[in-house]
Assembly symmetry: C2
Homo-oligomer: 100 residues x 2
């Protein structure tokens, strides 16, 4: 596979991370700051395994990172492109977010 093909593969994988409403929710929440899985689950009102599965997808793509903090595992946005994308296209669509 050529260099350009690889780039397109990687880019499409990046966008695939954003192509599910639950993952979008997770990403939007993490944009406000690092969160542990438990908090995410409570905020989004979803089952723990479901949250965990989507987090592992985001982790495998390098979109988010995580660190253990005692008994909790704290997730945070890792890929710098996320912030760009959030500011450019996502933030302004969200009615519950103030535009700054």
């Amino acid at each position: 596979m050529s260099k350009d093909e690889e780039i397109l593969e990687e880019l499409s994988e990046f966008f695939k991370a954003f192509s599910h409403p639950v993952r979008l929710k997770i990403i939007i929440n993490l944009m406000e700051g690092p969160q542990c899985v438990k908090n995410l689950g409570e905020t989004l009102d979803m089952s723990q395994p479901s949250i965990s599965q989507h987090l592992s997808i985001l982790r495998n793509k390098g979109i988010v990172g995580c660190r253990r903090e005692g008994s909790l595992i704290c997730y945070y946005i890792k890929d710098p492109r996320v912030k760009k994308l959030y500011n450019l296209l996502i933030k302004e669509e969200l009615s519950w977010q103030e535009k700054s």
Copy 2:
């Protein structure tokens, strides 16, 4: 479904359009200007039905539009978010594109 849920659904569908390398290629080509299906097929070296299927996906999401021009059908970028996204995240990753 709440308003916010709908927004997230729509956004995730938008990103899904970019989550396949062939669709990315098509979009990148169309960013340089409108193109007929035949040209796209030759440029991307892909089967006509495959191109046509991906174009119909992009069409259904409102990402691209098309018009007939004689015996050809000409596709063009329709969703204004595409240009933003292209300039922000895609252009700079492509080695064959000059950065402006």
